[in-house]
Subunit: 384 residues, 2 copies
């Protein structure tokens, strides 16, 4: 129950253990084609370009940036946590010029600040933002932010690592131009692949590049030669066959549940967890309207030893929760309810274990009342 990897269901684990076949085998090609269809379903898009990069989410992120940003391009980067900072670094390494729009960690990105940056820098080509900041638990309004970019003739480049499959993501309806995600959050697949999708405007920018992409491995014009339907599929690299079996199975499971049902499940379980935490006197560090249901940043109470509590949860309860990152290190715990991990029994385990550990660390907690609050919320579907 950390910030990912989430629990991987047995079906997905077993899929990864299927016999490895060749990356050019016709059966494997069919699997690749199905993955693309299922990714479009998850991303809510009809973009032809929807595929997993053969590396973790960070590789998916860099693939988007390295293909879209040309030397000299001005890129407005919104930062409200770790991953916006990483984007700045990547943009600079591609020769792009960063215009920083900074918001407090643990808060959503302020659309007004972006509007003002867009006005001040009408020559910017791209707006980057993180939809759900994994480092802080804050959710930003992707539709509004992407709209501001589009109205100014700029492309939106969106981190949906933690949101995809757990909260509403609407690539087409919201007009997101380039989006990347990971497999180990709400898709509940093992880490190691970076699903991406690019719309027509983003593809046009990539096609119109004057200089080749600085990375050969991530050059979409080459990667697509392998991932595009048709007889002339050309070898680029050896695809991670077994990891792709796992992603295929995880996406099938999302399709079986229905992506809208998955969003609703994450929302309800978040409310139940919140009930239990509040009953223990714990508070969520992010304002209510800006919370990511699948990643709960909990303020560590004064006087409680961060690492010690996490260590005890891990060793005594077999339960991993995440530490704070960056400016929030030591100040919050990050409790994930992502994908297959977002289940009532996990909420009970976590709230019960926190009640025990905090009690033995000298805090006053009432385990039974907290668990009752969780159970009531789960039963009624209304957390608060």
């Amino acid at each position: 129950m950390g910030p990912g990897p989430s629990d991987v269901p047995e079906r997905v684990l077993q899929a990864m253990a299927r016999p490895t076949i060749g990356h050019l085998d016709p059966d494997f090609i069919r699997l690749m084609d199905e993955i693309k269809v299922l990714l479009r379903y998850a991303f809510r898009t009809t973009n032809p370009l929807a595929m997993p990069i053969s590396g973790p989410g960070t590789a998916g992120m860099e693939s988007c940036i390295v293909n879209l940003v040309e030397p000299g391009d001005k890129v407005i980067v919104c930062q409200n946590g770790v991953f916006g900072g990483r984007a700045k670094e990547m943009v600079r390494r591609c020769g792009g010029e960063v215009v920083a729009v900074d918001d407090p960690w643990g808060r959503a990105i302020d659309p007004e600040k972006l509007r003002s940056a867009v006005r001040d820098h009408p020559d910017a080509r791209i707006v980057f933002f993180v939809h759900a900041e994994t480092s802080t638990g804050a959710l930003s309004d992707a539709a509004v932010l992407a709209g501001i970019a589009r109205d100014a003739g700029m492309l939106s480049l969106v981190d949906a690592v933690t949101s995809l499959g757990g909260t509403q993501v609407e690539v087409d309806e919201w007009g997101l131009d380039a989006v990347y995600s990971g497999t180990q959050k709400c898709l509940s697949c093992a880490p190691g692949l970076g699903p991406i999708t690019l719309g027509e405007r983003a593809v046009e920018k990539v096609k119109g590049r004057s200089a080749p992409v600085q990375s050969w491995f991530m050059d979409l014009s080459l990667v697509l030669g392998y991932w595009t339907e048709g007889a002339n599929r050309s070898y680029h690299h050896t695809a991670p066959v077994n990891a792709l079996y796992g992603l295929h199975e995880a996406l099938l499971m999302l399709h079986e549940e229905g992506v809208e049902s998955a969003w609703e499940r994450h929302r309800r379980n978040h409310l139940a967890l919140r009930r239990g935490l509040e009953s223990l006197g714990l508070t969520i560090a992010v304002p209510e309207a800006e919370r990511i249901p699948q990643l709960n940043a909990v303020t560590i109470p004064e006087g409680v030893d961060d690492a010690r509590v996490r260590g005890r949860l891990l060793h005594e309860y077999d339960l991993e929760i995440g530490a704070g990152l960056g400016t929030l290190a030591g100040k919050v715990w990050r409790i994930g309810l992502m994908g297959h991990s977002s289940r009532p029994e996990n909420i009970e385990l976590c709230v019960g274990a926190l009640a025990d550990v905090l009690a033995s660390e000298g805090r006053s907690t009432d385990r039974e009342t907290a668990l009752e609050a969780v159970n009531r919320a789960v039963a009624t579907g209304v957390g608060v």
Copy 2:
């Protein structure tokens, strides 16, 4: 039995299906440390820097190049197949200047040509070559080539994708400065990871860079913050946990067999395959002294339909063999005997299937004699 991925043993497949744990979990950190020890064993090195890149062999290749090559660096690239060409492209995309040393496809790299290039370009910083060219089946003398580089004060950067675990690779004894490999060849693990090792001289060059590495994902100074022993392991990206379970298990199996025994097994099985193929009137396209035992490039006989034969092997015998690449497309088949695939029963399957299919395509073959030749070679351990 293509040029990889090779057959993955059940033990490795089952390892990949173990429950996914956090990439910062102490148990996972122990596994990472063991992987490093086992990789040093496979690479025959005491280099502290030995680790898998979280992407396929191509990502391992680009990681080495992008860290070692600075803009303006002159790099001598030996090419005798597809992968030398790829290296040229990657060096150029890093701003390096390529000095090309070209040899015929299907032949080893000629040390004399490298000597002459080194004389003509004493200001070159790096010599790149492929130890075992997967695209052609030709093995070059890595010890001699690396020695030429070292004597000229240049670093050697070596592709050992197909050789590692299947033919002798001696990183320390041969003085190889930077080496990358893949998991899906003679290590018989699923594709998706790129093991690399860098010696002291290579690490010094990386540390002495004046410009940051253009890739954030592949920047070794950042990646090492996560892969280096010690308490302050810092988050870089989410490691592909399940893929690393598989690599760990595959490296354990190599250690159990003994890496020298594995080389010997590959050599003997290659000789047995060769007996069978010759008995069918087929010849290996590479001169005897330059052959990779684990990858046999077989000349396609005049009048035989390349794709049709491969298709029939796949559909009627469940047997995949590889097509030729680049200038060898349509001219050779590539039959792999890599890692777990390098077993007598596979040789029998392949020789028997080729005998049948070639016969029904109008060639005169004697199945029984060919299989007897294989069996005799397997029994005596002497193929020819």
